[in-house]
Amino acid sequence: MEIRIVLALCVVLCGALCGKSLSDSARRRAETLGSIIEAVRRLRVRMTGMFEPVQSALQHADSPLFIAVADGMKGGRSAGEAWEIVRDKAGRRGGPAEYLLKEDRQALTELFTDLGQSGREEQDLLLGGVLQALEALHTTALAKAGEANRLYMTLGLLIGLMLALIVI
């Protein structure tokens, strides 16, 4: 009898953990957006405060995605062209933009298209606007991650309980 109860508890726990892992993508999206926001802040400081060139600033923004774009700029390409090349690869499994949604990539496209294409003040405005947009996306991503985490964990728990009832 005790073994059955222990087994049932194990099944329920496994269900909850499976549910938690399913909600992983929502959490990773929020984390990725958070790190991109930090990188854009560093980029803003380097470009508008320290007058660093775009490619160098992207290299030092401490973000795998921005470093990939900086590498793509070798050979004289603009940030926008480099982003077009890097975007699909970065969005694949294991890439730095794997968990980003369409609207997140749209915000990044708007950033890279105009990056380094105008004067200091316009670049400051551009980076400020993109930061605002990314922060709004980050807030909704955090809310959705919390919601998804609760939903999938509860669903996993309930399905584990059901399996325990059926099998044990």
Partner: protein
Amino acid sequence: MDVDFVFRIAGIGVIVTVIAQLLTRAGRDDIAMLATLSGLLIVLLMVVNQISDFFTSVRSLFSL
């Protein structure tokens, strides 16, 4: 058949109801419908065996 079986089915019914409610609240009505149908299928599969045993025993008892 023991009485535990009945409460097992009742437990599954309650869990399926809660799952369907959760999914409906999360806006996934189609998955909620699938969950309800799956739960019903599982319960019916469990009950069908018992029905078959019951009718076999009635048949033998009453020589039908």
